[in-house]
């Protein structure tokens, strides 16, 4: 599929010359596992929102953005791991969603939760990697935090509550 370049995929991230120690491989693999689940979850949210008409328009936009972003991060992580001769974990055939996206508010809650998990896992990976791989996870953390915040705001959460003081950490 055509890839859309964003800051989540720095050109050097997939450099075949990259070397990763065991801790880095474990942290990036853990984040990749979260991304596999996030791709699934964002697709589920989008599918649940698809027939909900105008009421779900904004949420559908967020779901589509999240789906694209999680796929890009997934692919970037796979490129980094393959580039270091590590074996990236594959996706599961299905995941149990933390929230069933049966309504617009529930879908937004799901999207926020998925991105909070990405932020937390990216936070955990920051200290394990250096160089382009650190850039990748640092930018992934910021972008996930932004998407989670927008999902909360769209869901009617007050601005003071939608913003987290330390994304990924609290």
């Amino acid at each position: 599929m055509a890839t859309i370049r964003t800051a989540t995929a720095p050109a050097a991230a997939g450099s075949p010359t990259a070397t990763l120690n065991a801790r880095a491989v474990a942290a990036l693999s853990a984040l990749l596992a979260v991304e596999h689940a996030a791709v699934y979850g964002a697709a589920s949210a989008g599918g649940a929102l698809a027939p909900l008409g105008a009421a779900g328009r904004d949420a559908r936009g967020l779901a589509a953005t999240a789906y694209t972003a999680h796929r890009q991060l997934r692919d970037a992580l796979i490129a980094v791991l393959l580039g270091a001769d590590a074996r990236p974990p594959a996706a599961q055939p299905a995941y149990t969603l933390p929230v069933s996206p049966a309504s617009v508010p529930a879908a937004l809650t799901l999207l926020a939760e998925l991105d909070d998990r990405t932020a937390a896992s990216a936070y955990d990976a920051v200290g394990a990697v250096t160089g382009p791989a650190r850039e990748l996870v640092v930018d992934a953390l910021a972008q996930a935090a932004l998407r989670a915040q927008r999902a909360r705001l769209t869901g009617g959460v007050a601005p003071a509550t939608a913003v987290k003081e330390l994304p990924g950490r609290v």
Partner: protein, 196 residues
């Protein structure tokens, strides 16, 4: 914020059946308890990053204080974000103890986390007695103040990102989180400016 161990957030979405290598991955993601509070002797690069970060957070707080004095109606939003910056400063100081003295002095000055000592919300308009002379508390003035703060947050986010990329594994995660936080603040301020 020091209370770690939020396994649900870190766990991969509940996996069907006992999955292959994923069990090992979940174990890996769960090992957040090993995060240290920082060495007593920070690496020079971390000390420099922590000092720069503390300065940035101080400057942001000063910017919020000034904006809240000029625009009391914005205090509910700005007070909460300013409190985040006080917490950011405390988090950096907790990790780089050399900075702790400076941070505790600041914490004393800004005693109430919710900003209760800050100007209270005042919707009575530009002629309110609390508004300093010369301050433009018109809607345009407020929008301009929000835009300025958003720009300052973006600049801070970029600085935190650069510091994070240079920092050791001990301080880098916190700096990455601060970068994300300031990006989120900037987004929130931009949205408030558009709505305002």
């Amino acid at each position: 914020m020091g209370a770690r161990g939020v396994p649900s957030r870190r766990a991969v979405l509940a996996l069907p059946a006992a999955g292959l290598a994923t069990a090992g991955l979940v174990t890996v993601t769960g090992c957040t308890g090993s995060r240290t509070d920082g060495p007593a002797e920070p690496a020079p690069v971390d000390l420099a990053a922590a000092r720069a970060t503390a300065r940035t957070e101080h400057d942001l707080m000063a910017g919020y204080d000034a904006a809240m004095i000029r625009h009391p109606a914005l205090a509910p939003l700005l007070g909460g974000l300013r409190a985040h910056h006080a917490q950011h400063l405390a988090a950096v100081a907790a990790q780089v103890p050399v900075l702790a003295a400076a941070a505790s002095a600041e914490a004393t000055r800004s005693a109430a986390p919710g900003g209760s000592t800050k100007p209270t919300p005042d919707v009575s308009g530009p002629t309110a007695t609390g508004t300093p002379p010369g301050a433009d508390d018109s809607p345009a003035g407020r929008a301009s103040a929000l835009a300025e703060l958003a720009a300052a947050e973006r600049t801070a986010a970029d600085a935190h990102r650069a510091s994070c990329l240079a920092a050791t594994s001990g301080l880098a995660p916190l700096l990455a989180s601060l970068r994300a936080a300031e990006s989120c603040h900037a987004d929130l301020l931009s949205i408030a400016g558009l709505a305002g």
